[in-house]
Amino acid sequence: MSSTDQLRELANRDYKYGFVTDIDMESLPIGLNEDVVRALSAKKNEPEWMTEFRLKAYRHWLTMEEPTWPNVHYEPVDYQSISYYSAPKSDKDRPKSLDEVDPKLLETYAKLGIPLTEQKMLAGVAVDAVFDSVSVATTFREKLGELGVIFCPFSEAVREHPDLVKKYMGSVVPYADNFFAALNSAVFSDGSFVYIPEGVRCPMELSTYFRINAANTGQFERTLIVADKGSYVSYLEGCTAPMRDENQLHAAIVEIVALEDAEVKYSTIQNWYPGDKDGKGGIYNFVTKRGLCKEARSRISWTQVETGSAITWKYPSCILKGDESVGEFYSVALTSGRQQADTGTKMVHIGKNTRSTIISKGISALHGQNSYRGLVRVQAGAENARNFTQCDSMLIGEECGAHTFPYIDVRNPTARVEHEATTSKIGEDQLFYCLQRGIEMEDAVSMIVNGFCKEVFRELPMEFAVEARKLLSVSLEGSVG
């Protein structure tokens, strides 16, 4: 079998997580207007200030145009044909314990492998599982509560910790930031809120599994993480979505605030439905993620493994405001089939002695189009700022594309900015070496690709790293020659 045939065969695999759970959904009528925003806010029993925030964002959104600069092509989204709210029906009488949770829901989680029940301790992970829009169950709350760590659904934080939410929400990603951020600010469904108090090192990795479920329901998550002075937290976000024919929109916001000496590590595995082999269906993933290293010696690290979605538009960024703050971005983005990704990061150096590292690995296979887009800006006051950027692309197959668009703006002479990028084919000699030792073609490619991505994978927490490796092998099935 020729390598091209092997590629094709592997490309024909089905989406592993393509199942739909039948649960009664309560949805708002399709479309978006001020009434929908108000109704959404009312459904969630939000205070007046929150409703006002949403309306302000909505009104601003109306004045904005969808960005066309990303290097991706898709059918225009009709924002009036989307339902902006859906929640499991049992919302009013929330389950007091897991026994009360809809067994079908638990089944879904089991399929996803979320350790919500007995496996809780095993994984050492507290899960705030977002099922479509409303958080259903939260675990490990007591244990975290003892340390003063707040880890709860965003809607709960709005009610119970309004001061913190008011203070930090929108402080990193203002509602007027961009088209999708404005949309999210108007209609965000739910998400996670994390607050780590001063000096606390969060004893476990906090994790949320997002899962888009109801047909035609946009998912508008909003996550806010605040790490107070000297604290540490590692946060994991993983995503899978069931198979759908219609494109589903996902426009999330993640905001991170790190105060003095705080450290936040944010890891993502994104494996949403990429569409079928002709590019039909698949998730549109338009996400605004940004961290603010607000005070001295704070540190924010983004690690992402992007293997899913039909279209990805995502630039997890760091604003390095505090002196000696550190920003890191490690990314593996794989586009296969008809997937398109325009992803990268922004590192904005404002404070003195700030440092940033960018390691980006792009893999394009079959008809995939992969773009790295990054900005490194050193403001005039950022004495001794340092940046190192490496973005490597690998091409597998003749019809894919790899693109890099790094923007480098330096306004301070003491800065040291280094950027390097390479694009190459998977090494024939490496393949040959593996094959002649009896390693199957597919395993060989998987090995080589994993080696290519090693610098990123080693930044992931262990469980995630294992999953990432598996995901990459599965995603690459059928794309190798």
Partner: protein, 420 residues
């Protein structure tokens, strides 16, 4: 921003349009050319000059930066310029009008003025962001067409001079290098007095031909220089392009190279010397359209004063261009607190069997290097000068013509003497 909305024209845009109304009747060209010129100015009228929002102009907001358009004055005196390499033949343009051409065996010269009058030799640019093309098309009045016959090897460099005494200068140099021909061409851009200059060199390089093209831009420090160098390389053709930007107030030098023949080779070396309030933007688009071709671009920048610089380099590798080996590097020494430099090295790759890479650095002079020299008794100022010169000379020395290297290094020294 709605692209269809009527824009409010800036002062410079208004003046540009007024200048066109005043001059258009006296500009050369047949009926077709007149229409082409009209449509170019209409395009500027409709969309205005480009802003940051136009990706190709991301670092040079022409709408904001072009503050005034000086009036055209054909009578203003123009100083002659000695050729860079003594004794080499010179084809000169003064104030936009062809002045004189030499006699060189195997090379024929034609005035662009004559070409415009006889045939349809300009076309509306294909790309909407080609503002340099639009301005040039609207106003171009002269220039030299150069044809180097097949197999001809030029003994000495041919120098094309675009000289002015201030005002407006819009010229073109269409050049054809025949198959297996070998030549060095120097493009000089200089003058006296405030001016708006647009200059387009359009070069066809035949099979197996070897061309070295040197652009030396030394405009007065109140002049806007809009340059464009376009070249197409046929099979096994070799182009070495060297650019030195050492003047002007607002400088945009575009490089558009297409390697359309197999086995083509493109080398670019560029030095940008930025001082005072200068704004210099070098934007390169390199298309690899054919297989087995190679390219290397090295850009070195030195920024002093309040100068702002930018380098945008885009390498596009088409699906057919397998086995392409493309490299690009942009290194900047930022020597002042108030200066800035931006780079955007882009790769767009659609072929899988290629090796492409780019690197970019921005930094100040390495303190270890400085210490090394100073510990050997060299004063700080001199040590800095030496290090900066070494940083730049490395690029110049890639040219394998000793006389040229010497002359260009002398230009470096002259620049340092004034700005260092």
């Amino acid at each position: 921003m709605n692209v269809h909305s009527k824009i409010q024209l800036t002062e410079a845009e208004t003046e540009l349009i007024r200048a066109f109304v005043e001059r258009s009747a006296r500009l050369p060209g047949n009926a077709q050319t007149v229409m082409t010129r009209d449509s170019a100015i209409e395009a500027i009228k409709a969309a205005g000059l480009p802003t940051r929002k136009v990706e190709a102009w991301h670092y040079t907001d022409l709408r904001r930066l072009l503050s005034a358009v000086p009036a055209y004055d054909p009578e203003v005196p123009v100083d002659d310029a000695e050729p860079l390499i003594a004794g080499s033949p010179v084809a000169a343009v003064a104030n936009g009008m062809t002045a004189r051409a030499p006699n060189v065996d195997g090379v024929s010269f034609s005035t662009f003025f004559a070409r415009l009058s006889e045939e349809d030799s300009i076309a509306v640019p294909e790309r909407g962001d080609d503002t340099v093309g639009l301005i040039n098309i609207a106003f171009v009045s002269g220039g030299w067409g150069v044809e180097i016959a097949d197999g001809v090897e030029l003994a000495a460099p041919l120098e094309l001079q675009n000289l002015h005494g201030g005002g407006q200068v819009h010229v073109r140099f269409p050049v054809t290098v025949g198959n297996q021909a070998k030549a060095t061409i120097i493009e000089r851009q200089t003058g006296q007095g405030e001016a708006l200059v647009s200059s387009i060199s359009d070069v066809e390089i035949g099979e197996g031909a070897e061309l070295t093209w040197i652009i030396v831009q030394e405009q007065p420090d109140d002049t806007t220089h809009l340059g464009q160098f376009a070249a197409r390389l046929a099979k096994d053709a070799k182009l070495t392009l060297f650019i030195m930007n050492a003047g002007g107030k607002l400088v945009r030098q575009e490089v558009r190279v297409a390697v359309v023949g197999e086995g083509g080779d493109f080398q670019m070396r560029c030095i940008n010397l930025l001082a005072g309030d200068n704004h210099t933007d070098v934007t390169m688009v390199l298309d690899h359209a054919a297989p087995d071709a190679g390219s290397v671009e090295i850009v070195r920048n030195v920024v002093t004063g309040r100068a702002e610089g930018a380098f945008q380099g885009q390498i596009r590798v088409a699906q057919a261009a397998q086995k392409t080996d493309a490299r690009m590097a942009c290194n900047t020494l930022l020597l002042s607190d108030e200066g800035g430099f931006s780079t955007k090295p882009e790769l767009e790759i659609f072929a899988d069997d290629v090796a492409c890479g780019h690197g970019a650095t921005v930094t100040e002079i390495d303190s270890d290097h400085l210490f090394y020299l100073m510990s050997r008794g060299i004063g700080e100022h001199e040590a800095r000068r030496l290090l900066v010169k070494a940083f730049l000379a490395e690029v110049i020395e890639d040219l394998d013509d000793e006389a040229l290297v010497e002359v260009l290094e002398a230009k470096l020294d002259a620049w340092f003497a004034e700005h260092g």
